[in-house]
Subunit: 342 residues, 2 copies
């Protein structure tokens, strides 16, 4: 293990698209990693492919406990509670992270079980419309943001207390894990994360569903005339409804706020288009300006002709436990920056 590698084995609970892809990347890096899939048939397939996996949850957690592994919860939100219960029983001292898309819901489950001091939340901003081990792949997270929550450290800091060493080490290892799969670790507190993804991930899904329905209502002629703008705008409506519901319903308060903003803009546009002198000037100008700003922010990544991807996220090289490191996390968060552990 090099100092930039995770300093312990990794145990992944749930080997779907995300968990499976993490497993594949870590195996490729020759890091000690094993996992659990609740599906016996998929476990058999992965075993045949040479992966160290099992469908026995108590067994895999006992193994994690025995070798002090980092446990990665990669199951759907509705299974998180029961996995935490199993961890409490079979792996009572392991550090825990997760990859679920809404962080407040997971944190609530963690807090209910008093596991705050051994939990660091995570959320990779990557995926496809497909799910399951059979769609997992190497390189899925390359260049993607991977949100990492630090509310526990922030709360210690607010009370003037030092963050316990166990949590600092856990945080460092979670960041290292994202580096090992070539993602970019973005520190963010739970509430800010959930508000941000409501805008940039859950709202796009809701709008895509709406556009797909209104387009489909136009019948076969409208479909025949549909081109790029419609196809791009409806792509994520191809996501399994269960997945969309899990994301949107567990983040309902933040998503309702984002929807209210969208409804307000849309209603204004509708009214000014229905006026005697139809106009959409305000919305078209504001939308274009917004899009231009967004492009400018992510400019470095796109414009580079170098084969080496250059990140547009400002980097903070961090040493957990160093003076003011939690304040540095807050500063990095305010810039949407990424952190590296050294």
């Amino acid at each position: 293990m090099s100092p930039s590698d995770v300093q312990r084995p990794i145990c992944i609970i749930g080997l779907g698209l995300i968990g499976g892809s993490v497993l594949r990347d870590l195996v490729a890096r020759k890091h000690p990693v094993y996992g659990y899939n609740h599906s016996t048939s998929r476990t058999r397939i992965a075993l045949k492919q040479g992966f160290d996996v099992t469908d026995n949850l108590p067994e895999v957690l006992a193994r994690a406990e025995a070798d002090g592994a980092l446990i990665v919860i990669a199951v759907p939100m509705n299974a998180v509670g029961s996995i935490l219960d199993a961890i409490a029983e079979h792996a009572p001292t392991c550090g825990i992270t997760d990859v679920v898309s809404v962080k407040s819901a997971v944190r609530e489950q963690v807090q209910q079980r008093n596991m705050n001091d051994r939990y660091v939340g995570g959320h990779p901003m990557a995926g496809t419309a497909l799910s399951g081990w059979e769609h997992s792949q190497k390189g899925l997270f390359s260049g993607a943001a991977w949100a990492i929550t630090y509310d526990y450290a922030d709360e210690c800091d607010a009370r003037g207390e030092r963050v316990p060493k166990f949590w600092e080490d856990l945080f460092a290892d979670v960041v290292r894990m994202t580096q090992m799969v070539h993602a970019e670790a973005v520190p963010v507190r739970v509430a800010n994360h959930d508000a941000a993804v409501a805008r940039v991930s859950h709202l796009p899904h809701v709008l895509a569903e709406v556009l797909a329905i209104v387009g489909d209502n136009g019948g076969i002629l409208a479909q025949s005339l549909a081109a790029g703008s419609f196809k791009d705008g409806t792509r994520v409506a191809g996501t399994t409804p269960a997945l969309v519901r899990q994301m949107c319903e567990t983040n309902a308060p933040a998503l309702v706020d984002a929807l209210d903003e969208a409804l307000h803009l849309l209603q204004d546009a509708r009214d000014s288009l229905a006026a005697p002198q139809p106009s959409i000037e305000e919305l078209a100008d504001a939308g274009y300006r917004a899009r231009t700003r967004i492009d400018a922010r992510s400019g470095a990544r796109k414009e580079s002709v170098s084969p080496i991807k250059i990140s547009s996220r400002p980097v903070l090289r961090l040493h957990p436990g160093a003076p003011h490191w939690v304040g540095q996390l807050r500063q990095s968060e305010s810039l949407g920056g990424r952190i590296e552990i050294f």
Copy 2:
């Protein structure tokens, strides 16, 4: 000229992205074609590149009149009226088509000048966010739908009159022109066209603007966490506001109807998400079903592994003037089908 080629020279008025791309494709096919650009500097560039173009409108129209050319109006909507006036003066007997994205607005201008009997509307469902001669390109229309309006023939038919031969020949040549640039001619009446594009082209633009603004409101952190769903959903917000306004404002009545449908769906989703038991089941299910139907309809085009593109639009081989040909157009329209002239 082969029988499947346009049976006359083509004169393109306006050499932006669409007009310029038509010119390039027809030149590549060695069809007699020339054009007009109101920009002197861009005309010079095109001349140097060996294209037969001018910035003198009366002159190019007089030439069109002299050799009985098909005139293609490829200017923004707000310039259509003055171009029609110039055509009335300098090319009083030429057949006319256009490529403007809202057909009722153009038809109104045509009707005001009593030019119905020599006008066939057109609208290629292709383009990029870029505009101007410098972005025009060969192959832009390959496989794209090209809406062709036939209200004039439909009205003759409704009155039990035969469509005049001049108009039948014009219609055939406009279809042939779309074939020469490898587009697929989709016959459609003006009102149906405008209602359809409100759903599948103008609404996607409005939703993209809204999403860009709500995402941008989330600041730099939200942008840092934005991934594929946000990028796809906001792509067309990069379109010049003037272009968006021209499309949406000239099609205001149909777009307001589509917006009302979208607002209704969005408000329902918002309310069921704000309920004590947040749910987005109805929208997620309906959106997924819609998207699945859309994919199924355009399935043949995507799933084919053959290098030859197979169209998913049912084809009608048509002979303008044959018995019941206008009824056949209506039938093809109801299927979103394409027509070929033989």
